[in-house]
Amino acid sequence: MHIENVSRRRFLKTTAVVGGGVVIGFSLTGCSSPGPLPIELAEGGFVPNAFLQLLPDNTLRFYTPRDEMGQGVTTGLSTLLGEEFDFDPLDMDIRFAGVHEDYNNPGMGVQATGGSNATHAHFDQLRQVGANARALILAAAEHDLAIGQEQMSTDNGEILVGSERYPYGQFVKTAATLTPPTEAPLKAQSAFKYIGRESTRVDALAKSTGTAVFGIDIDLPGMHHAVVKRSPVAGAALQSFDAELVKTMPGVTDVIEIGSGIAVVAERYWQAKVAADALEVSWTSVPLSKVNSKTIRADYEVALTSNEALVPTDEGDVDAQWNSAEHVLEADYWTPFLSHAPLEPMNAVVRIQGNEAEVWSGTQGPVAAQGLVARFSGIDPERVKVHQTYLGGGFGRRGTLTHIIEATQIAVATGKPIHLLWSREDDLKHGLYRPASLMRLKAGVDAEGKILAWDAARAGGNISEDTIKNMMPALFPGLGDGMIDWTVGLAKGALKGWVTDPSSIEGLFEDYDQVHTRIKHTTINHGIPLTFWRSVGHSYTAFAKESMIDELALASGQDPVAFRLNNTQNKPRLQNVIRVAGEALQGMLPKQGHYLGFAAHHSFLTDVAQIAEVSVQAGRIHVHKVLCVVDCGIAVNPDIVRAQMEGAIMFGLTAALHGEHQIQDGEVMESNFDNYPILRMTEAPSVDVVIIPSTDKPTGVGEPGLPPIAPAVANAVYRATGQRLRSLPLRLA
């Protein structure tokens, strides 16, 4: 039975028996949350808070508030709760939470997953939830067994009294009558048994047997399949199309115009795909239609010297240092537009029945999914049910949900349950991209190799403008289009005129000790849609910064590790990962013809240093080995920390060695993995990860492994060839 009809008010006020189950509610934060929890209550199930339901048979359902895109957050968060509740995460029945304020990301204030913040943001919250629930079960056991709590201990879902073991589930009925504690004491780190344990992922089995359910796998009775034909140039409007031919093609039921293009609907996916391919459509010309890769780069060159640049940071007196510096270096660094290319292309299933709607999709923002379905169907958000699935890769791409808008529009227009699927070509050619950047760095060092001044400028697009444009309608589904346009315009104006989007320059200057720092930024957007891409600004700023540091070390006649150690006196945690990696480097004996490159970077509160072992053969760059030292605070699951470092290195290597979109007449030219190659196993280095032991709160893991790899490889390539490559992807002359 569902409990959607039970109001949150009733939840809070009573300890009610509902449908044979016992529910009590309390808000962890003390705030009142509107609306019922989207939890399906089992027979006799006990729901002490939004995150768990305990069944009389001792099944523990954990409602995970963050979205699983491979980063291992499901394992991490269940481990936090399990640690204090004393319940092995591998024994939990884990489900994706529906939409509710209680599932907001404590670090964002909205129900979204990204920014490598989940373990950090939920670290205190979910442990407290677990501790409170455990205290409640112990109190109930004390009542039922008439034994003092001082004689009880717990072990993986059971209360131990002498040699007797009592499953938690035995006490749910009594627990529901008690007042839940809100500040049960938390364990000391030395007592952790699940946090820090070497353990497999909770989703490993489902993902090794083909049983894990992704958005693409949803299959409803009467469901029709939709394919959308979009303009080759972003933002171009429909001019004309001829639906007659394709309407008669096998299986085709509808050919309709929606905001982003023409939707072809058929009984089967393949029928829709064949028909959409046959559809002739013409589009209007827009300013972007005149834009090419070369003109973009040229515009950025001009923008770098623009006197309209914003100066978000200007400390000390940069210009006064150049004369006194022993060495002054200046160089430009270029990084291209990139796709996320998650292996599961964008998709969504939307079903509308009367004044109720449902959406199935793997997203980084379930509340945005709900808002968009509501907005584009006219149905009240509270009547839009979101079914979250696994994400077949996210990397930032699944934070923007235009595919959910499309599926909703098609479902509304056709009255059919709709399964919308993008092709790989749609993904690469009609996506949202990591912005391209041109960065100009100038730095001066003194005779001791101390960095005196750091002067950096970046020209390129801001992701914030598109993010605001995409998120406003999702988060405020009731707001009229005019209001949305006005608000977005206002925000864009603010970004353009007053402030620099922090994500555009993050990582460009913060890591080293220089006193004199100036950052300039010029925003230049040609209309290529932009969004967050794994490690965001750090994905390009680290390349420029760590390449320049390598050049400065060489100019100073210093070892790259010693140079970095010397210039990170005020960044002890970063300095420590550099030191540990530097010590490991002493023991690395690269084969003849192999060269080592070093880089380090701080991002998402985490510090990472990497050494890449590289060779160049017949003009090709081969990366053989990577050593990665990471300090991410307490490693909740060390193996997932290692996996994320490995994965981020591979993701960063695709960008370092292959990734590049070309724009021709406004159109993104790359269409599939033949012309937008992804790193393959034959190119993948072995990776050794060293995790620095820590007592600090956990910090980011999904993204920080990425930024150092491109400069580490570029720095090694310089040693191998004498060529200083300052553009990505790395291409030898």
């Binding site: 989703d203 090794s208 796998d217 890769g393 490995e646 992804i678 393959r680 993948a684």
Partner: protein, 164 residues
């Protein structure tokens, strides 16, 4: 009608014979473990076995498998146990997002059927057609090598079972 064996059972379909096998398996026979990644035979997410050979089914017309044996991830292990590859996948926590893993496992299973003790280089070349965007490659390689050690026992169990 096109008839073939799907995971040991005879099935038939009246779908357009040019429809790629992947979509017939997913949409007609509702087996969702095989994935769509590129539609061009470039990523390997759709890999199944056709008469024991690993094939990219997103570009293989269903008519090409008439009277043949098609095996999907759902039919990989004919025993009650998991395939040694699947056990190794879990033990090494190979998957991240997991989307490509059915295809990875099916490519690896075809390799081990023909070459039960592959070298690391042989694993790399057999799996070079399978993209993992999460970059699980080091673990995939380790897991295939670990599973190869368990293959003889698995194959013995299979042949014993078939004799019964």
């Amino acid at each position: 009608m096109i008839e073939f064996k799907l995971n040991g059972e005879t099935v038939s379909t009246g779908e357009d014979p040019n429809t790629p096998l992947l979509w017939v398996i997913r949409d007609t026979f509702k087996l969702k473990g095989s994935k769509f990644g590129c539609g061009a035979g470039l990523c390997g997410a759709c890999t199944m076995h056709v008469d024991g050979v690993a094939v990219r089914t997103c570009i293989l017309p269903v008519m090409a498998v008439a009277d043949k044996n098609v095996t999907t991830i759902e039919g990989l292990s004919d025993t009650d146990d998991l395939h040694p590859l699947q056990r190794a996948w879990v033990a090494h926590s190979v998957p991240q997002c997991g989307y490509c893993q059915s295809g990875q496992i099916m490519s690896a299973a075809a390799l081990l059927d023909n070459n039960p003790s592959p070298s690391a280089a042989e694993v790399e070349s057999a799996l070079a057609g399978n993209i993992c965007r999460c970059g699980c490659y080091p673990r995939i390689k380790q897991a295939v090598l670990a599973a190869s050690d368990a293959m003889p026992q698995f194959q013995n169990a299979l042949s014993t079972r078939q004799e019964v």
